[in-house]
Symmetry: C3
Subunit: 140 residues, 3 copies
C-alpha cells in the first residue's frame, strides 16, 4: 500500500557556494523508516539551485563556483535587473543554467545516489540566505 | 488511497522568450480538486524548455533571454545542423543547458512554488510555436 | 491500485558524446507491461548527464558536443581538480550545466516523449565508462 509524506527543510547558506545537505535528507528518510519509493526535492527560490555533485574532493566545489563566476560575471552591463545588487541577475542566470528539482529513488531505505554523489544547495547570492526545500515521498 | 491523473496542455508561444503558464497548471489542479500529491510536467520538444523562475520583475525575463542569446549566438559557424535556420541549433543547445522536466509537490491544493516562482515555457525558436506539456499527478 | 518497481540499467559509453538508450527503457516498460504511471531515471555519476534531445539528425549530437567542448575547455588553467586528467573537471562542470534526473509520464504503455525526443547518457569523460541509471516506476 503506497503512502505519501511531506516535509520542508530550511538550509542556512553561508553565502555563495555549495552547501551539502545529504544528511538532512537521510535523517528524514530514517526518521520515518521509508523503505522503497520516490523522493522529490524542490527548492523554493529563484537565485539558488539544487545540485547533485561530487562530495569527495573540495576542489570540485571550488572549481564549479569559479567556472560559474567567470561564465556569468557579477555586474555585467548586459543586465538591467540590478535591484538587489551586482550579484542579483547573475544568481537568476545561474539558477536557470542548473535546476531547482531533484528526483531520487529510495530502495531498502537508501537513496539511489552514486558512491560520490551528494545533494547540495548552491547559493548564488554573495550573502548568506535561508533556503527552503520542499520534500515529498511516495512509497512504502 | 493514491490515484493518478494525466492531461496535456498546449501553450502557444509568441516566439523567443519566456511564456508563463502557472495559471493553466493551477486550473487543472483546482478543476480536479487535487489535495496532496506530486505533479510532474514534461515538455515534449527539443527546442524549448520548462523553467521555474522569477515572475515579479519583467526585466529578469528580458535579462535571461539576453544572456542566453549572447552565450549561444544565432548563426554560429560552429554548427552544422542549420536545416531550419540560424536559430535552429542554438535552440537545441539552450534546451540542453536548461531542462524539459519539472516536479512539484502539491499540498493542501497548492503547488510548493516559492513566493516569486512561476512556471514557464521558454521558447528558443524565433518564430511562434505550439508547445505541448504532458502533465501527471499522483496523490489524493 | 498503484504499485512501484525498480531496476538498474548499465550503459557502456564509447567515450565523450551522446549515447541513446530509449530502447532499453522501453524494453523494461514492455517487459513489465506498465500501462499508466510515472517513470523516473537517475544517473548515479558526477561526470556524465542524462539528456532528452533530438534523435533524428546526428549533426545535432555532434553540434551539442562541439558547443560544450568550446564552452568548458579541457585543461582550463582555472581548474585545480585535475586528478584524473584534463577532462576531469570539465566533466563535472558539464554535468552541473545539464542534469542527472529525468521524469516522464507513461500513458497506455508509452513514454510521453515528443516525436523527436530520445533519452541519452551524455558521457563527458574522453574514455569509455560503464554508467549506471537507477529506474523507478510508480503506476499501474
Amino acid at each position: 500500500m503506497l503512502r505519501q509524506f511531506f516535509q520542508e527543510l530550511t538550509i542556512a547558506t553561508r553565502g555563495r557556494g555549495l552547501h551539502e545537505f545529504t544528511r538532512d535528507v537521510e535523517r528524514w528518510i530514517d526518521g520515518n523508516q521509508f523503505k522503497h519509493g520516490l523522493l522529490t526535492l524542490h527548492l523554493r527560490h529563484t537565485s539558488a539551485s539544487l545540485l547533485i555533485q561530487e562530495n569527495a574532493d573540495p576542489d570540485v566545489q571550488r572549481d564549479l563556483e569559479a567556472f560559474f563566476r567567470r561564465l556569468v560575471p557579477d555586474g555585467d552591463p548586459l543586465f538591467r535587473h540590478t535591484t538587489e545588487g551586482e550579484d542579483d541577475m547573475p544568481a537568476h542566470v545561474r539558477t536557470a543554467l542548473t535546476t531547482v528539482n531533484v528526483s531520487l529513488p529510495i530502495r531498502d531505505g537508501r537513496l539511489a545516489l552514486g558512491a560520490w554523489q551528494g545533494i547540495y544547495v548552491w547559493e548564488h547570492r554573495t550573502r548568506p540566505h535561508m533556503r527552503r526545500v520542499a520534500m515529498h515521498f511516495v512509497g512504502e
